[in-house]
Subunit: 90 residues, 5 copies
């Protein structure tokens, strides 16, 4: 899973029916200090998160293994709100 | 999903039968300011978009989950025309 | 799909049976001006292309969706010879 | 598989049910000298490893092929604790 | 498929049962001149190759399509020993 932060939303009226009723969030990758990195992905929210929250994103075929995304043409989904991360001194 | 902009088309006469009748568009990745980035992909259009439009692209096995691409040797498909994106100040 | 140019071939006698009788081509990624980039992949040819030709490559599980590659341990396949690309002024 | 080192943990209360009871570890990629690299992934632990240990991570659909991750929305899993690596002089 | 060279081995006692009896090799990517590049992967050997040999690696779900890796939590497998590559002047 990829660690990221929700920074925005995408609005689309004309889309494949897989996306009907789905909330599309923009998630930027972050490093282990929480700093925003350049790469980002547009992911379907299955957890109910908001902008500024830290999340886990699942990509690829596993993104179709939640109840809301089963068999859909979706390759990126938010599966968890992250409460905290612990990183040991390196 | 990847955010991108349609910048062109690909013409091919000799191709796998999965691609019969499919429209192949060149989609360049964009950043959150809409600036074109270098990476691009050739994607099948299932929405009906045109050059210059902002789109969402699904890659990998999920690209086979639309009606038009089911069980086909296609790994990249346009699933939505993007009307707008909202990004919060970072 | 990835846009590339065939630049060579790979010869292998000892290989998984999935590759029996398969032609293995080296395909370098190209940019939208046709310039060769560094990344390359070894792909199975299902179209009948030759060195110097521009092609589309499908990667991942969708590479197993052609008749010649069904259920095989192949993750990269040439699915089209590209006749032309049109890119609009950016 | 990707070679990495466990450097931390992720805590999440609100998550897809696929993750119920799963231990989420942060694994940083390492080079062949054991040096930590920047890329990292959050992976489900199926082996029972701890911080500081060297591990192998499986990504993508194969991450769903362990008993603990079958059919779950998980795309990254730790499948082995690495005891040693031998690299020949290059 | 990715072109690479076997540079070492990985030893692991505690691992998912998918890996029982499997030989784990470290394969570094090479360029078309045979020069070793930085990226590497740990792959299961299904061909019987040794250190220093040039190989083809299959990644992702197609890595589960050999007899030895069917339905296993393996995402990288060596499918061929490369005898030679021919690259045309560019």
């Amino acid at each position: 899973m990829v660690l990221g932060k929700v920074v925005g939303t995408v609005v689309s009226a004309q889309k494949d029916k897989s996306f009907a009723g789905k909330k599309l969030l923009i998630v930027k990758a972050i490093d282990l200090d929480g700093k925003l990195l350049d790469p980002f992905v547009v992911a379907v929210d299955t957890v109910g998160v908001g902008t500024g929250e830290t999340v886990l994103v699942v990509n690829g075929s596993s993104a179709r293994m939640t109840e809301e995304t089963k068999d859909k043409s979706i390759d990126s989904v938010i599966v968890a709100r992250v409460d905290s991360i612990q990183v040991e001194a390196q």
